[in-house]
Symmetry: C2
Subunit: 398 residues, 2 copies
């Protein structure tokens, strides 16, 4: 007997998934399918990039037509179906229609997503050949296979699960995502897929998804580049028998927890990354100020290379804070790296370089900067920048 | 007989310079002196970073006191005198006072600048020991020595000269600058020093300097990090007998030419750089739009690594344009790399990959993106991103 996955998109009841190799990429899984065994509601957030990939436009139109009903996801890696013109629009529609026929559901209830090289036409013959196999392999333990098939330069699959005890009963939220380049906070910064066996109205889902995305995916950066294909989709099928009340803070909180976990996994597995860096900024006048400072530090190549070199170069962190657009005062700041205070107010700096180097060499590094200006705070996540990032990206397409 | 330098800060008449090793850095020249043999007017622009190094505050105050008169520059490398508190403020003042005494001029007419590691106190004993030697070595062919002493991670000195035939006669403008990391467009993005033997009122100098900086230094990016120490200073001593009339477009144009040359040299010698990349965006609705798109492409790590890999990955260029905040339309764009059209309207892309790779392998690469939306244009400069940038920055401080 097949056992339901304990994490990922098949952890909630009533979802099956599969991941196969259909030939878009060489020798790697490249087609994922996720299906609810009953009708489901859905919501999605999309990239803010003005150059949008074909699947995004298509999903937005489909969800508008169904009023927020969708129960299947088809995701391919190896080809972004972006900058592909009308032929690309057709390919997105065709993929949904073909999957809908095979699954016996309306094509508008199939959402599509693509990730990979920009500017090449999707090879529909391979998708046509692969989809029947993907349907055949659908399984309640198929989450990990699906999670593998959506990866690009990632080094490992990224899944999570959250068990929620709500006011109306218990339910499960599962998720998967992929990195690991072209990652920057700007309304959903990569592909993320979430399933839940709670029932929820599309508006409830969308409101919670937007709030959760803002505190998770929108706070992670690998390289400052925002993709054309970014999208997070949630499907809610109600298989648990529990309905999420409109505005339920518990659901939003649990969803945020799921997305924060996935977002951190993206930073941890950023292209070439050897460290997950958490940048917590406290003592700000407003949360917006704290977030601006945290983001600027998270995206500074000089800070990221210094962490790679295990170099407690606190001047670079202050310099990044200084160019954040926030009226900061260097002399008021306190800075700790991995819990070790390296700078106190009045630019007082006295610490053990050896201890700092040791703390900076750990797989998880926390930079905590207190601005000394108020009580608001914000956290973002990033990774170190090293030679592997260049190795990966200098020859990605060829 | 010593001959005046043909380029650099000693090319204009009446300026002498020197560069020596005083012991701030190991085995490298680290102290530069530039002096006009007669009174001169001056203007300066400074970093927009909220965390400002001590020399900037001190120069601003000194120029306010003298009403824009200054005739000497003391510049050290190896130590930024930034985030150094009151002790750092004192060090900047002390350096100017000591140099003023040695040169027999008011200390307020000595401007100071520092570049190097942030957060360490300036070793005043070494500057005290070095300054007399620097004064002794002042020479009309000392420009290259001064240009060498202001470098940090640069691989070569950066000097230029411009002969100007104005309405009132001929004069010379010379300049030197340094790179090569923490470079980003934001009101003067590194150290730049310009001398001219024209006479000009401080207000005339400042207006021209601001306009020229906006079209040069503010359009070059190596890594998106803005320094705490950025400053460009111009000294005008009138030794040519020519006075620049207020609002003379020729002077602003010549100064822009000088600063564009120096800014391009910075990008060409960006940390680890193997290519100078010119990003020219045409066909925009407004110049501000063109500049925003050009800057976003210039700072995209994915574009910069693709150029390093000689990979004509035009999708990354379009993706960068798409996240610039400008309402662009990918299907309206035309893109050429080194003069080779790789993308036409409607996402039409047909070109020789071999030729594109050849063009991308040249030391100078031009990316020209026409947005197809209007007639405005703007150009920025950057360099490729490669493993050497990481090598340099992972261990810079230690």
């Amino acid at each position: 007997m097949t056992r339901r996955s304990s994490v990922g998109v098949t952890a909630p009841e009533g979802f099956r998934a599969s991941g196969i190799h259909c030939g878009i990429r060489n020798h790697k899984p490249d087609l994922a399918l996720v299906v609810s065994d009953r009708p489901a509601s859905a919501a999605a957030v999309y990239t803010s990039n003005a150059v949008k990939a074909a699947p995004l436009t298509r999903n937005r139109e489909a969800l508008a037509r169904t009023g927020g009903a969708a129960r299947a996801l088809v995701v391919n890696s190896g080809n972004a179906n972006a900058c592909t013109g009308e032929q690309g629009d057709h390919a997105a529609r065709w993929t949904a229609e073909h999957a809908g026929r095979l699954l016996g559901i309306p094509s508008d209830e199939v959402l599509v997503a693509s990730t990979g090289v920009i500017g090449r036409q999707l090879p529909l013959d391979r998708i046509a050949e692969g989809l029947p196999l993907a349907v055949d392999l659908l399984s309640i333990d198929g989450g990990p296979s699906a999670a593998r098939a959506i990866l690009t330069t990632d080094t490992h699959i990224k899944e999570t699960v959250e068990q929620v005890e709500g006011p109306c009963g218990g339910y499960t939220i599962g998720g998967m995502t992929k990195g690991s380049g072209m990652i920057h906070p700007d309304m959903a910064t990569t592909l993320g897929f979430v399933t839940t066996d709670a029932a929820a109205a599309p508006e409830t889902l969308l409101r919670a998804l937007r709030a959760a995305t803002d505190r998770s995916y929108n706070r992670v950066s690998v390289d400052g580049d925002t993709s054309t294909n970014d999208m997070i989709v949630i499907l809610a099928n109600g298989a648990s028998g529990v309905t999420v009340p409109e505005g339920d803070p518990g659901f939003e909180q649990a969803l945020t927890h799921v997305l924060v976990h996935l977002a951190k996994e993206i930073a941890r597995d950023g292209e070439g990354a050897t460290r997950l860096i958490t940048v917590r900024v406290t003592g700000a006048a407003t949360e917006a100020d704290a977030l601006a400072v945290s983001r600027t530090i998270s995206t500074s190549p000089l800070v990221k290379t210094a962490v790679f070199g295990s170099d407690a170069n606190w001047g670079r962190i202050l310099a990044a804070a200084g160019r954040s657009g926030v009226a900061v005062d260097g002399a008021a700041m306190t800075l700790a790296i991995g819990g070790l205070e390296v700078l106190g107010p009045g630019y007082h700096s006295e610490f053990s370089e050896a201890e700092a180097t040791h703390l900076l060499s750990q797989p998880e590094v926390e930079i905590r900067l207190d601005l000394g200006l108020g009580h608001a705070e914000a956290t973002t996540w990033t990774c170190d920048l090293n030679q592997r990032y260049v190795d990966i990206n200098a020859g990605y397409r060829t």
